[in-house]
């Protein structure tokens, strides 16, 4: 029993930190959904793309960490803009399901390219920003500085987004989403708003990927379905946020992180194969059936 | 016993009281018209009668039977047929396919046995197809039977919709703005069609429309709604001249004429008479 308690404590800590990655992904998902009603299935692949680009720059071309990081983000943004241009914009009047399949297609294309380009090196590693870690009492939960940095970035990103949405550009995004015609009439370019949204979502995804990658080894499809699978948890966090609330996405990400860790508790993982997938599935089902409008709604009033 | 009885039906959406204690009675074989400015609650009333909304209070009765909470498809089975403001058809298939689909309840085999291919289904399919063709012929639509609904002009679709609803074998027909988009001649012809249908099928008809001449000519009884309430009810000519009704459409005298309620795009306010300041 005390072992379970210890494990619970560790799970809480680990889950919170892991949840930071999910929260970053969720922020991107919520951003895109609020701006265009699209479920962005490529959100996590923005991250993998950024990670691979950063890896290439650092490990293959020998760049320094900061430049490689920036390069990774740039690559993610490029992918986001390309997606917007070539896929989202032409399909802007299509049913939402079509757009979902389209973003899944974008994700798959990225994954295909990753397999192609990086298959010789099946498993890649990238050094962390800082290798140190420590154990947190009282449960001796392992915490790496990388994870703390990720969490810090999450907070910074959240604050930046909050400030951004008070700025004229941010309000333009909200306006364009609520009333595109009226927004155009007032001089807001819906087109540029769309591109800005996707670029921002790509940055968030890229951050998630580049920060999460070094925690483990990675290969193609890392952030979507691979070792760092954050797509489904990210969506779950977004659901908890009612697909609307940015602070809700942060809270949601952390919640999902902790819930997922419940699958690593010995009593669970011993008795349930694939416990993490099972836990996530049950949790998602419960949330959608009981509280489909979300739980962490904050001030995001339903429009 | 009346065919349809709406008994103090009220419905509320959030802060908006869309219908307030509406009473309505329709007798066998009557044609009843419902008029009123935009936003008066006419379609909302239809939705309550047909089951797309459930009233917050009050009851809807069909031939004495309480159907207030009954699902839509079961009301169709009882004999309520309805058309929609924006033409309710399956647009991506042909007219004939719509007629076949509309005869869903008349298709006498179980969906699963049909799927697995029992011989009886072939004969039934043929019967359905013939019945559909008959109805199309009645509405002078045989030429377009194999055309895709999405390709046809609006006026034709209005008639297709009536054919489809007839295929559901209704006792009571609820028509939501059957005359919308029609000029005076077409509306007149529509009136003739409705009278003919009533006679040939023994139907009871309730219709919402803004063509006051059409409604007046064809209806036995008229209700006027405004702000979710019944403003006036009676013989068509009486209702048309009722001061409240006039005021609802034209506004107060001695004041700059203002619309009865906020302008809502879509649908004309009808040719009651000259309307200064009424929504264009």
């Amino acid at each position: 029993m005390s072992q379970t308690l210890d494990e619970l404590g560790v799970a809480a800590v680990t889950g919170t930190l892991q949840g930071a990655v999910y929260a970053l992904v969720a922020l991107g998902i919520v951003l895109v959904y609020r701006a265009s009603g699209v479920f962005n299935f490529a959100q996590a692949e923005f991250g993998t793309t950024g990670l691979f680009a950063a890896y290439t720059a650092k490990e293959l071309w020998g760049w320094g960490y900061p430049s490689a990081f920036a390069f990774g983000i740039a690559a993610a943004v490029a992918m986001g803009l390309l997606t917007e241009r070539l896929v989202i914009h032409p399909l802007r009047n299509a049913p939402r399901v079509t757009l979902l399949v389209a973003t899944a297609g974008v994700a798959l294309t990225a994954i295909g390219l990753q397999f192609w380009q990086f298959n010789e090196t099946l498993v890649m590693t990238m050094p962390k920003i800082d290798d140190s870690f420590f154990l947190v009492p009282p449960f001796d939960a392992p915490v790496t500085v990388q994870q703390l940095i990720t969490f810090g970035v999450l907070i910074a990103a959240s604050v930046a987004l909050a400030l951004f949405f008070r700025s004229p550009s941010g309000l333009a995004i909200v306006a364009a989403q609520q009333e595109p015609t009226a927004a155009e009439l007032v001089g807001i370019s819906v087109r540029r708003v769309s591109m800005m949204t996707w670029a921002m979502a790509a940055v968030l995804g890229g951050l998630a990927g580049i920060l999460a990658g070094p925690n483990t080894t990675f290969s193609a499809a890392f952030l979507s379905f691979g070792g760092g699978a954050a797509l489904l948890p990210g969506f779950m966090a977004a659901v908890l946020a009612g697909m609307r609330s940015m602070p809700g996405a942060v809270a949601g990400g952390i919640t999902v992180g902790i819930v997922e860790q419940m699958g690593t508790l010995t009593i669970v993982s011993e008795n349930v194969p694939g416990a993490r997938a099972a836990v996530l599935f049950v949790f998602l089902l419960a949330v959608l059936l009981v509280a489909p409008r979300g739980i962490y709604l904050g001030k995001a009033a339903v429009a | 016993m009346s065919v349809l009885e709406v008994d103090k039906v009220s419905i509320r959406f959030g802060g908006v009281q869309a219908l307030r204690e509406v009473d309505l009675r329709v007798g066998e074989w009557e044609i009843v018209g419902i008029i009123g400015p935009n936003g008066a609650g006419k379609t909302t009333l239809f939705n309550c009668i047909t089951g797309f909304y459930e009233p917050t209070s009050g009851a809807v009765r069909f031939r004495g039977r309480d159907i207030t909470a009954m699902p839509v498809h079961r009301r169709t089975a009882l004999g309520l047929g309805r058309t929609f403001q924006n033409v309710g058809l399956v647009k991506n298939t042909t007219v004939a396919a719509n007629l076949a689909t509309a005869q869903h309840l008349q298709t006498e085999y179980d969906a699963w046995t049909g799927f697995l291919g029992s011989p009886a289904t072939f004969a039934e399919e043929r019967r359905i197809s013939e019945r559909g063709a008959l109805i199309l012929d009645l509405m002078d639509l045989s030429d377009v039977a194999d055309e895709r609904v999405a390709d046809l002009p609006y006026g034709v679709l209005k008639r297709v919709e009536i054919a489809a609803v007839l295929a559901t074998d209704p006792d009571l027909l609820l028509l939501d703005e059957p005359g919308s988009g029609m000029g005076p001649e077409e509306a007149h012809a529509l009136g003739d069609t409705l009278l003919r249908l009533r006679k040939e099928f023994g139907l009871t008809i309730v219709m919402i429309d803004h063509h006051v001449p059409l409604v007046t000519r064809v209806s036995d009884y008229v209700y006027c709604l405004n702000f979710g309430e019944v403003l006036a009810a009676g013989r068509p000519d009486d209702v048309r001249r009722h001061p409240e009704v006039v005021r609802a459409y034209l506004g107060e005298p001695d004041q700059p004429a203002e619309p009865a309620e906020p302008v809502i795009p879509g649908g004309t306010a009808g040719p009651l008479s000259t309307q200064e300041g009424a929504p264009a």
Binding site: R96, V97, G112 | E147
Partner: protein
């Protein structure tokens, strides 16, 4: 209820206008395509069509099984052909949900996987016959799909897609991880039924099931069930006004989809003769969606071709075929690899999603739309280059 023959005497309500001389002046119907009677091909036309049909039959029935064929293909390739057929069944399964019913399932591989493991377990552990096993697999597939269908009734389309995604992962890791039933990492063996062990015979077996599934799917669309689904897919309000129980028919669509998936699963298990849970991963899930969409959401033939194409693509066989062709024409055989630098095994991974995006943005009808002129021609109608153009009408996306 009255028919057109009966004329009821209506007690005239006072004030009602007379209708004795009802001259229904109905607006004339605009001159739509006035068919001058069904066009029939001439003799040459029939001969040409017959020849093509024969060629298609040969391609499907004879070539992969090395019957009546100038070339001999190896057993591995016959197995690929079987796989293509099985994929086609899987594609038709998802097509029922996505194409006829508008529901998106991102975890469809779970339905197939359940069928596979059920069949394997019944044959290997319980010693049942293959025929019984495949029937049970179909039934379990239906049950599983219906359960998910009940969830879909409570959720809008996009959220349901998430649930299917989570369910796919759950099935792959948890359900298929129950070692006693699925053999864990080692997988579960599944022997082929007696008489069908050879690659050629198994191919014919799969083909027979494909024919069955196509026939059933065709029956579905020709009867009230299919019409109900088409209606509720586009406009559930109108469907219920037509008297269709939208919930019941949604569940029916799921059940039918599950039946087809179960069949595909069982055939897969006995095809590979051993199945492991890792076969049913996210890549398979997304491949399903790919092949159904690229195949064409309203076209059975398109889905069959699309699925077969993706199956062959995955095995690298397509590339081999193309390269063989190119080599025969005198170009460098390793075309893809040397010119673009794309090794054969990844062509599918890269080309597939690109095809998907092209389909969605430029050619919404997919393969089905592209080959519609040909399929129509084969059906005995005049060759029309513009046949099958998909002009999807936007209807209110009620579910999302």
């Amino acid at each position: 209820m009255s028919t057109t023959e009966e004329t009821a005497t209506i007690p005239r309500a006072t004030g009602a206008p007379t209708d004795a001389e009802t001259t229904a002046v109905l607006a004339p119907v605009p001159a739509a395509a006035t068919p001058e009677g069904r066009w029939r091909p001439g003799r040459a036309g029939w001969l040409a069509r017959g020849a093509v049909w024969l060629a298609v039959a040969w391609l499907v029935l004879a070539l992969p099984a090395n019957q009546l064929s100038p070339i001999t293909i190896g057993p591995a390739d016959v197995d690929i052909a079987s796989r293509a057929v099985i994929f086609a069944i899987g594609g038709l399964s998802l097509h029922v949900l996505l194409g006829w019913c508008g529901q998106i399932s991102l975890g469809h591989q779970a339905f197939v996987g359940l069928g596979a493991f059920t069949s394997a377990y019944l044959v290997t552990d319980l010693g049942m016959s293959f025929w019984f096993a495949i029937a049970v697999a179909a039934g379990f597939g239906a049950v599983q799909a219906t359960l998910l269908g009940m969830v879909s009734l409570r959720l809008t389309g996009l959220y349901f897609a998430l649930v299917t995604l989570a369910y796919g992962a759950f099935a792959e890791n948890t359900l298929f991880g129950i070692t006693s039933l699925t053999g864990g990492e080692g997988g579960k063996p599944a022997a082929r039924p007696p008489g069908f062990e050879s690659p050629e015979n198994y191919y014919y077996l799969c083909l027979a099931f494909l024919a069955l599934v196509i026939w059933l799917d065709w029956r579905l669309t020709r009867t009230k069930g299919g019409r109900a689904m088409a209606a509720l897919r586009e406009n559930p309000r109108v469907a219920s006004a037509y008297g269709i129980n939208v919930r019941a028919y949604t569940l029916m669509a799921f059940a039918v989809s599950g039946i087809f998936a179960g069949i595909a699963g069982s055939l897969t298990a006995h095809h590979d003769e051993i199945i492991v849970k890792s076969s049913f991963d996210f890549r398979l899930a997304l491949t399903f969606v790919l092949m159904t969409v690229v195949g064409g959401l309203r076209s059975r033939v398109g889905v069959v071709i699309g699925s077969a194409f993706f199956a062959i693509l995955e095995e690298g066989a397509f590339v081999a075929m193309v390269e063989g062709l190119i080599g025969g024409l005198g170009f460098t055989p390793t075309f893809f690899e040397s010119v673009i630098g794309l090794p054969a095994e990844f062509v599918g991974l890269v080309v597939g999603p690109i095809l998907l995006l092209l389909t969605l943005t430029l050619y919404p009808g997919g393969i089905g739309q592209q080959i519609a002129p040909i399929t129509r021609w084969l059906g005995g109608r005049r060759f029309d280059r513009h046949a099958g153009a998909v002009r999807e009408v936007e209807v209110d996306d009620v579910r999302a």
